[in-house]
Symmetry: C2
DNA sequence: CAGGAAAAGTGCGTGCACGCAAGTTTGCGT
DNA sequence: ACGCAAACTTGCGTGCACGCACTTTTCCTG
């Protein structure tokens, strides 16, 4: 059911994607991230430059994707794996934290590379939006009595919160003014562990999850 | 206080931006949106093409910006204008609905144009992210006792919800599968008035606002 | 097992985003 | 008033995203 027919076609496609990911990351590490052209990545992966961006919309996306891999799917799976007994809010939070803190050795080094270049950081942050569709699916499964949009809104909010957490984790202190963040007098100094950031960012959403959950099972 | 010194410099800058907006929209309406090159817009506004994209990162952004204008600021102002007595969740919801449904005649026609081209729709949807920073500021002002991230997370969630509402308002029925939306059996058919969509999308977030608000004034 | 439809890959051309290094205007201090 | 420094504009060059039309590969069905 999970894999009805991989199909030769689909497998070659994934192989090509993987080759591109790999080539992009390797080249970016060897020379600087700036010193890698799309042409180089395509050549290293053995496809044409045109094919390259049938797979990736930007050069940065390919590099980041080697780290990100299929994090979206893993998060969704981790939520689904949790018992329906636990609070949905907790299931989501723990799944997210778990998937973002379990970083392999290679991923750790790649992340270090990413933080050096602002274009790469942006691409990395943008990648968090990808968790929305699969997360919508698992949340909707737990809330099948709820309003149509609810699951999507919650999933999108989680994505936004994760993005914020990663953002303030990547920049310990933004030197310039933070565009409307210094609202009520004092300035914010969030800095902390990644899992701490994630939990803090997701916490404000818990009441929304609770309310949605109680709508279906009163 | 609101306008310490406009300054000649700043006024010319805004005039240029306005001229570009105007030219972009006018040309897009006259010929099709596809038949407008950056060069044309720049020429019509009396600046160089290079200057054009000191102001706008993409061609679509310029066109959309003529409709969007300073909606972000107006939403934030509309929230701030509401009494501190009313529920924050309601203040935000009403401010958003108010600013999105008060469309001038010209804006209405421009919106019609936008819906015709997918690149324009995307740019229009992306523009909703701009409400986050000003919204963060006004929310933070109402929640000054709360956790640092809370205001940002709530503002970002609102932006996400608004995006979802606009999205499903722009496409009455997405013909293909909606990437993980058909989770629990039946398929969704949201379609409705814009204000209805907005309220429905924002409703699930209300509990989160309430909880945050009670943290500061118990 | 053939034949044809659908999908993936490719070559080419066009317009664009953006860095860089001038040139030009605005603003401010002395 | 003068001139300097910062902000804005502009020309140029490079790499890139993406549409289009065409070839090659994969898959399905009679």
């Amino acid at each position: 059911m999970t894999t009805p027919r991989p199909g030769l076609r689909e497998r070659k496609k994934q192989a090509t994607r993987e080759a591109l990911r790999e080539a992009a990351l390797r080249l970016a590490v060897e020379r600087g991230p700036d010193q890698v052209r799309v042409e180089d990545i395509a050549e290293a992966a053995g496809v044409s430059p045109r094919t390259y961006n049938n797979y990736f919309a930007s050069r940065e996306q390919a590099i980041v994707s080697a780290v990100t891999a299929d994090r979206e799917a893993r998060i969704a799976a981790a939520v689904a794996a949790r018992s329906a007994e636990v609070r949905l809010a907790d299931a989501v939070t723990e799944a997210v934290v778990e998937q973002y803190t379990n970083a392999g050795e290679r991923e750790q080094r790649a992340l270090l590379l990413i933080t050096t270049q602002s274009a790469l950081r942006d691409a990395f942050l943008d990648a968090t939006a990808d968790i929305e569709p699969p997360l919508t699916a698992v949340i909707a499964e737990r809330l099948d009595g709820a309003e149509a949009h609810t699951a999507r809104v919650l999933a999108a909010s989680v994505a936004a919160a994760v993005r914020i957490a990663l953002e303030s984790w990547l920049r310990p202190a933004q030197n310039a003014e933070t565009a409307g963040s210094r609202a009520a007098g004092g300035l914010v100094v969030p800095s902390g562990s990644l899992s701490g950031q994630l939990r803090a960012a997701l916490a404000p959403l818990a009441p929304a999850f609770d309310a949605a959950e109680q709508h279906t099972q009163p």
